[in-house]
Amino acid sequence: MKHAKTATQNACKLCNPLGACLAFRGIENCVPFLHGSQGCATYIRRYLISHYKEPIDIASSNFHEESAVFGGSHNLQVGLKNVTAQYKPEVIGIATTCLSETIGDDVPMILREYKKTYRNGTPMPIMIHASTPSYQGSHIDGFHAAVRATVETLAEKGERQKLVNIFPNMVSPADLRYLKEILSDFRLPFMLLPDYSQTMDGGPWGEYHRIPPGGTPASAIVAAGSAEASIEFGSTLAASKSAAGYLEEAFGVPRHQLSLPIGIKESDKFFDLLETLTEQPRPEKYEDERRRLVDAYADGHKYVFEKKVIIYGEEDLVVAMTAFLREIGMMPVLCASGGKSGQLKQRLTELIPDLEEQGIKVREGVDFVDIEEEAKVLKPDFLIGNSKGYTMSRKNNIPLLRIGFPIHDRFGGQRAHHIGYRGTQELFDRIVNTVIEQRQNASSIGYTYM
């Protein structure tokens, strides 16, 4: 059957404002605020809650017909006033939506007006504005836009200090905790943004917190302009859109872009960079993690060799995962993303020079129906990606190994590791187990040792 080429069916992406809301949750005492209809905030909350299992308050300017006709200025201002009164935030992270962008609300101007009207001696929250129209890009663009807007708003010039900025990309709370552990073990002062390791995966509360504890303080972000370097994970992220790119341009903070450190080779690059920046060897603990991983590769290599996989998700995740799969001898037959940076193939080729030769297909801007059609031809042993591939996984009887975001149909997505030696170890174990389980289920004997 010839498949439709116009409509998007079972999308492999989400909208721009979602990413911004998540990023804003990684700032201490910050309320994400969507300038648009009530539904945007509610749907995005629901979607995030189903993955993170945490209360997620996202305020909304709650557009009505009049706001759409006469502009959203009034609603935005009333909304900011109400959020300030009820949440007492230090920061309000404002993201636009397709609605406010289309009517052409000049948010920076409205914010200036608001500050003028309500400045009456009481300290006002810092307001960060990210432009995130849903008709451009996808959730990952909104994520980066919010991180960049935060740095643009807060970072200041200052005397160079022993400090490194880390922009980790859209990784899990567990990944963020691991990153902080690594940097602390290197005794390297750092500014991690965003840091939703606690706000999106925290403990129980004795009372309701309007804003959950955790996140990077605004005061720490101010110092980003005086850091010695920025480390940014992300292969397809352009300097013009990234926080590290801004800091380099505005304050001369050198930008080190690495792909997400998944797999030994890419993790090595990250640790090498930390060694260079700190002028000291990595702590023994990480040598141990690496050694255990190399040992595990040896123990498990036969299970995974030349197993065919379709990998999908955000482009940066796809690039990093593909490099990892190649280093353990697996065969990614299709690397797919709903994103459309135009750089996916190029970045993949940089890490996997024999990409074409191996016949590895790369497709940007696809939906799950596209991926499903490819799967029918490519016949992968399993799929690797977020939960949204489950529909096609079930229909075509291809196992799905869930990574990234969202994980809506399994428990503990927020605690899954992906990056560094530890994350790679966890991924490798899960991949090997997927193969073993498949074999065991397919066997008529039912081996008890595999």
């Binding site: 989400l14 299992k53 945490e54 209360p55």
Partner: protein, 453 residues
């Protein structure tokens, strides 16, 4: 009452029942305050929930990707046959479409999707942006309908043009266009439509069976396990039985006006209301006393099975306190009764979209000290939950993490539930779920219990 933590402008949407205080009307049916974190959604959401279960139609969201992505396979509305409703279709509007208009993209999408999936009809939901760029979706729908020969129905659900209730209305309007276009031949006089029942976890099947056991023909269920052909002949039924008052009353009223079909409001939650919903239908057919006899028979058989099973739960749950915050107020009434039947009291009751009558009735029903809220938010809800020392919250997915963070039990009574809670068997499931959550030993580690340290 203590107003700390309550937004200015929201005081009138909250009420605490106390003797000696003359109840003034609670303020409701207003739009949410800007800047409050409402648990409500938007017009689009209202339309989407009502039409979602129609399983042999395609549902195309005309707009940027978000609205379609967030509603993909979101509900537990099951189908006995086709499952087109579980797919997500979007015109995925891009910047150029916003500038030059999305009509062509919508047209091409429709033609392609109809060819690919061969649906019985198509629903086109317009989102916020479509209301701004001025796409004439009615014209596109008309054109496609003419070319493909199936009904192609615009649903004007621009998110900002009202509240969720306006979305319900837009959906009902689309359904009204289908109703009356099918043949009513062979439909029994003792027949009904079930309105506002979405077949979550197969609930419509349970309810339908009860009515069939009474000798009643169910012409159409709107929209649970819905089929276009069944919708088309819904005007052949003698009575509309409306559950989920918020979403479908307007359709019932329209059908009454246009086809002279009377309607009654019912609820299928809890023994009391479930039984009443069978008796009330039987009462509508006084010339057929055998229907009432059969209804009594059904109730008696079911209750005989259920009652002893509930006693174990009642024993454990007596004295426990619940907070209810759900979409429609009508559901709240049933839940209060259902909870009482398993020994629990209600300390907080509220809804996203109740009207004045609903809240008046709530006040009458509730115990002294119960807090009643309209269009609440997490801060308020948690404040009352803690103050009133609730052991359980009943709500939807957005309320779930609030309960769990505070260390109290939770029962999901929203569109995403996977276990049927309607009907007599549903009452058993409900009691079981409440019991499993409230009685779990894990709460001993919650801070409100001292964290067991």
């Amino acid at each position: 009452m203590d107003h700390i933590g309550i937004l200015e402008g929201r005081e009138k949407q909250i009420f605490e029942k106390k003797t000696g205080i003359e109840p003034s009307d609670i303020a409701c049916e207003t739009s949410s305050l800007s800047g409050s974190v409402s648990q409500r959604a938007c017009v689009f959401c209202g339309s989407r929930v009502v039409l979602y279960p129609v399983a042999d139609a395609i549902h195309i969201v005309h707009g940027p990707i978000g609205c379609a992505a967030y509603t993909w396979d979101i509900r537990g509305a099951v189908s006995s046959g086709p499952e087109l409703h579980r797919l997500s279709f979007s015109t995925d509007l891009q910047e150029m479409d916003v500038i030059y208009g999305g009509e062509k993209k919508l047209y091409l999408s429709l033609i392609e999707l109809i060819e690919q999936y061969k649906p019985k009809a198509a629903f086109i939901y317009s989102t916020c942006i479509v209301g701004l760029i001025g796409d004439d979706i009615d014209a596109v729908c008309k054109k496609v309908a003419a070319e493909t020969g199936i009904p192609v129905l615009p649903v004007h659900s621009e998110g900002f043009k009202g509240t969720k209730k306006d979305g319900y209305k837009a959906a009902c309007f689309a359904l009204m266009k289908l109703i009356g276009t099918g043949s009513t031949e062979g439909i029994s006089k003792q027949s009904i439509n079930i309105l506002g029942e979405f077949n979550l976890a197969g609930e419509a099947w349970i309810i339908r069976k009860y009515y069939e056991r009474m000798g009643i023909e169910v012409v159409s269920t709107l929209t649970g396990d819905g089929r276009i052909d069944a919708v088309k002949r819904a005007h052949g039924a003698s009575l509309n039985v409306v559950q989920c008052s918020g979403s479908m009353t307007s359709l019932a009223k329209d059908m009454e006006e246009k086809y002279g079909i009377p309607y009654i409001r019912v609820s299928y939650f809890g023994i009391e209301d479930m039984s009443k919903s069978l008796y009330d239908v039987a009462l509508h057919f006084p010339d057929h006393p055998e229907i009432m006899e059969a209804a009594k028979q059904v109730v008696s058989e079911e209750v005989k099975k259920l009652y002893p099973e509930l006693q174990k739960f009642k024993k454990a749950l007596t004295g426990k306190k619940a907070a209810i915050y759900v979409g429609g107020a009508f559901k709240t009434f049933s839940l209060i009764k259902a909870l009482r039947s398993i020994g629990m009291s209600v300390v907080l009751a509220g809804s996203q979209t109740g009207n004045k009558d609903d809240y008046r009735r709530l006040k009458e029903m509730c115990d002294e000290g119960t807090v009643i809220v309209d269009d609440s938010n997490p801060v308020e809800l948690s404040k009352f939950i803690l103050e009133k020392e609730a052991d359980l919250l009943i709500g939807g997915v957005k309320e779930r993490p609030i309960a769990f963070k505070l260390g109290i039990g939770f029962c999901d009574h929203n569109h995403e539930r996977k276990i049927p809670l309607a009907g007599f068997v549903g009452m058993y499931n409900f009691a079981l779920e409440v019991y499993q959550s409230v009685m779990s030993p894990v709460w001993q580690f919650a801070p409100r219990k001292g964290g067991n340290r």
